[in-house]
Symmetry: C2
Subunit: 259 residues, 2 copies
Amino acid sequence: MTSDDTPMRPSGKHLRTAVADDLRRAIETGELPPGATLPTEPVLMQRYGVSRNTVRNALGDLENAGLIEVRQGRGRQVRRREPVWIYASRSESRARRRPSGVDSWVDDMRSQGRVPRTDIEVAVLHAPVDVSERLNLDNGATVAVRRRIRFADDQPWNMNDSYYPMWLAQEVPAILDPADVTTGLTVHLADRGYAQVYYNDELTARMPTPDEAKALNIGPGVPVMCHMRTGVTKGGKPIRVTVTVMPGDRHRLLYEVPA
Amino acid sequence: MTSDDTPMRPSGKHLRTAVADDLRRAIETGELPPGATLPTEPVLMQRYGVSRNTVRNALGDLENAGLIEVRQGRGRQVRRREPVWIYASRSESRARRRPSGVDSWVDDMRSQGRVPRTDIEVAVLHAPVDVSERLNLDNGATVAVRRRIRFADDQPWNMNDSYYPMWLAQEVPAILDPADVTTGLTVHLADRGYAQVYYNDELTARMPTPDEAKALNIGPGVPVMCHMRTGVTKGGKPIRVTVTVMPGDRHRLLYEVPA
DNA sequence: TAGTGGTCTAGACCACACT
DNA sequence: GTGTGGTCTAGACCACTAG
């Protein structure tokens, strides 16, 4: 028994890596195009001469790399990608043409030939620490939140939660009115003297929590982009924090910024 | 034998899920704070009354969720997070104070008390399709590329590749000069009549390729943010595409945009 | 040397999907 | 029903880290 007597071991690599790499190559070269069904576990066991656990470990690596998706009883398929564009910041000329009273999700989706929908609910709760920091509130202060789940073609697409300090919700009762009037609400705030003059946007990428994965139907190996937007008034006072959680394989965020 | 005779099975869930959820709870409540070492595999087998494979599957789920990291022979630890801020777009007043000749990476890192370094190399190659599309070039056209690996405190932190059309590299030879003069190069281009007046930024999140994971020392369960910036001249001509690949757990990207 | 995690095997049984 | 993937067990051996 030499140290390299097993079949299909290209170069000192482990069996699971060898199997995963061979399948990865097939996917990247288009030999297994998007949507194609992969060979079944027994076939792969035979082809590479390894045990079922090893095949499953290799396939698990590809799944966690976001390359394939699996449905019990139906096999594994090369993942399709069809991201949607989200405009986070447009040039002046284009931004101004947006009709008030319709939110940007509706705009963005319609322009891409998709059918938008938004489910919204409102609540009052203790602010998460991320939010209270950005709103200059004490830890544990209460805030009003408008939670949205946004759909495209009836599929849950992202989550978008807007937090307002409680004093503002009392001054502008529309905040706690569960009607889908995002841009309208912004105009409403401006009329009351709380116009947002700029936004501070923060972007991170991470893996979804189990709750997020369930609510947005996110499979293994798909991260989320997390977008936190703080709206600031002329006086420098933060009045809103909006947290958007977007599955990475379904979104492309766009900014148009001056050089 | 009933269907639920195993210990520690809270609610119809699978064993691996029960184990993973219990450990996840401990991490989220701070019972296992960042940096803490998890119990060993034999201990967990005993505690939950499951086999080693099941313990390993549960721990693997936590690893792929980005919650823990593992080093052979040393055990598993709750992952620490210490992201760095990257300013993608600042307000006018702050942007203008930046000294020319020093790139933004150096600026951003020094202001956060870290020691920046940039390794750079230049090359001429066929443009990836993503790049040729954005530069309005034919598929397979050659481009000049400045590849950077950026370090913080001597750790590889992100990759930053700038692509220029070949005609521009011939007109502005500094593009193919491997010296770390990012902002200087921008000024240089402006002097030759190729000032960039705005950027189109596109952001996505995905899992790293094996190459990226190796080069940037990215562990399992950590996604990357991919930032593609297209620089456009006054005449609307794209002259540069910069692709930045940032491990999600080490970066926080900031934009300051007008409302 | 002892203890950790890493890989691999073999086999049993369960859950789901198609036909 | 047949075939797919999902879970779980038991055991062997290897590779790395620490004392």
